[in-house]
Symmetry: C2
Subunit: 345 residues, 2 copies
């Protein structure tokens, strides 16, 4: 930038007013009467000089950055979560824009301490934080919360009441299994998305269990296997399920990525989907509609989650205590080919 960057002083001089007036006019401060002529002169002077108020000075004097940050922890579920990043960011920036906020993106890499984001908050780089992939042993997080720093979790941290935004996993899984039940399946297996240490994993399993019980079917854990985010884990889990006698006629795989691995196992066993065995996934990743057969799955609204997280956070920042700080969004069952509904219904 040219060093002759204009300041409010230059605008004041050119318009023949004080800096106070310049600020009042440019910020459109209400309840202050300034003659239309003066107002006009200031606006023209600013325009003519190409004046833009300096953000750093404004931040300092106002004590606000008008910025929120998305903290993105790189866990073992990294690739899995990456699939949601574009949608999440779009929702997040959409809401932020509506309130006049900027968005900082801050990944925490594997070689950084988990609480490397703290400086962002304590050093006042941002007015609030959205944390994706938080860990329950994160003391720094608890401290920030205790210090009333505005915080929203993407996902859930059991045993805290930190504001959070997530999908209703129980409902989503329930809808998937319900769908298979309606199609006539009675021996339905499940492969989880991840180990049970992950809350989402527990909840999806719970949805499976409840759907079964809702239809008067017993929950049978010999029909359950544990995935671990990736295809490989899905392949193995499905192999193991196929070793059952009889094998299930349908399987709910609580992750599309894992389902893709499961699909490969089925192909290797020359089992056709959905004729030989029906499959329903979870997440609705971009690839779900392109694979063969196209995957019936549970859509996770990344955009909506991003929007809700940003909106909740900004409310907290601006001090209007929202009635509900635990936001749970509904999922949507997307029926494609792998469940067999297209043929049997």
């Amino acid at each position: 930038m040219p060093s002759e960057r204009p300041t409010s002083r230059d605008v004041a001089r050119l318009a023949g007013v004080s800096r106070t007036t310049v600020s009042l006019v440019l910020n459109n401060v209400p309840d202050v009467h300034i003659s239309p002529e003066t107002r006009q002169r200031v606006l023209e002077a600013a325009q003519q000089l190409g004046y833009y108020p300096d953000a750093s000075a404004r931040r300092l004097v106002r004590g606000k950055t008008h910025t929120i940050a998305l903290v993105w922890h790189r866990g073992p579920d990294r690739l899995y979560r990456d699939a949601f990043l574009p949608g999440l960011l779009q929702g997040l920036t959409g809401a932020a824009r509506q309130y006049g906020y900027h968005v900082l993106f801050r990944p925490i890499e594997a070689d950084e301490p988990d609480d490397a984001y703290v400086e962002l908050a304590r050093g006042r780089h941002t007015d609030g934080l959205i944390l994706s992939g938080p860990r329950s042993d994160d003391d720094a997080l608890i401290h920030l919360y205790q210090d009333q720093f505005p915080l929203v979790l993407h996902g859930q941290l059991p045993e805290t009441d930190i504001p959070s935004v997530d999908v209703d996993n129980v409902q989503g899984a329930g809808a998937a299994v319900e769908h298979l039940l309606r199609l006539g399946h009675r021996r339905i297996g499940m492969i989880t998305n991840a180990p049970l240490a992950y809350t989402a994993s527990q909840q999806r399993l719970e949805g499976y269990r409840r759907a079964l019980e809702g239809w008067g079917l017993p929950y049978d854990d010999t029909l359950v296997r544990y995935g671990n985010f990736d295809e490989e884990s899905g392949l193995r889990a499905m192999e193991s399920l196929l070793a059952l006698d009889p094998p299930p006629t349908a399987v709910f795989v609580a992750s599309d990525m894992v389902a893709i691995g499961a699909l490969r196992a089925l192909r290797e066993h020359n089992l056709r989907v959905p004729e030989g065995i029906a499959l329903v996934g979870f997440d609705n990743i971009a690839a779900a509609r392109f694979i063969t057969p196209a995957l019936t799955t549970v859509h996770v609204p990344a955009f909506g989650l991003g929007w809700a997280a940003a909106e909740l956070l900004i409310r907290l920042i601006e001090g209007d205590r929202p009635a509900e700080t635990q936001v749970r969004l509904e999922t949507e069952l997307i029926v494609r080919e792998s469940c067999g509904a297209k043929h049997s219904v």
Copy 2:
């Protein structure tokens, strides 16, 4: 945050020194001798109070934000570019972190003016800008460049020498077609990724032409069709190519998304891939390895592009004139099933 947020004054008081000394110690200013005892006292005081320097004050006094921004224009190629966002951001933040910079993400939505990002620069919210999806009729961009505001384009804008980072499209397309030639194909069609108004599209077509000519084959535009980012366009383009007599034995589709549409057209015509017709894509989107047949394609290094863009931009910001401001990264051919190499070689 509690209102009793400590300032450098508090640290100075507790350590029994001046604010100058606090600043000198905390910033580790070189060539200034401060007794180890004093240094220690300051550090302890800061620690004890939980002191973090205020970012806004620092920015103001230093005249630097230590922030770079990624401007993400929502064009018709939005979904296409979204596929690269996670990788791009990871590379970008990786380099930024190495230099101590933060990253602002700023999408420009369809209902905003194309130059809505200007305030970010002029208002000093950021020290530099990376623009993804720039348009050649963007006057504001030219003005910023003329005013020496640090700028890097992701992609290319012909007829300017604005620093930019991109993939070598000619080389990438050439490698794809070369691969088909080696497999024995002599009648090779092409479907572009987008209309020729897009530089990348022109360049990929150029790579196709050169590869053909390198093997002494004539460039024949009756074998070329134009895609438009999405599957639908690929489906139509392939239909049109199949109407040829004889149809090509192989097609280079300069976009995986478009290739997925082309694949569908082939399926509808009961043409097996690669036996009936061979296909090579471009981009290596996440879905490429999951579709059937797995797509042979040209990998675009999103991470590397992000890293290079951030590094180049930060160099420009910090004033060390880089030797090369037009960075072109190499692509990599990923051989999977759709080209037939696995069978014929």
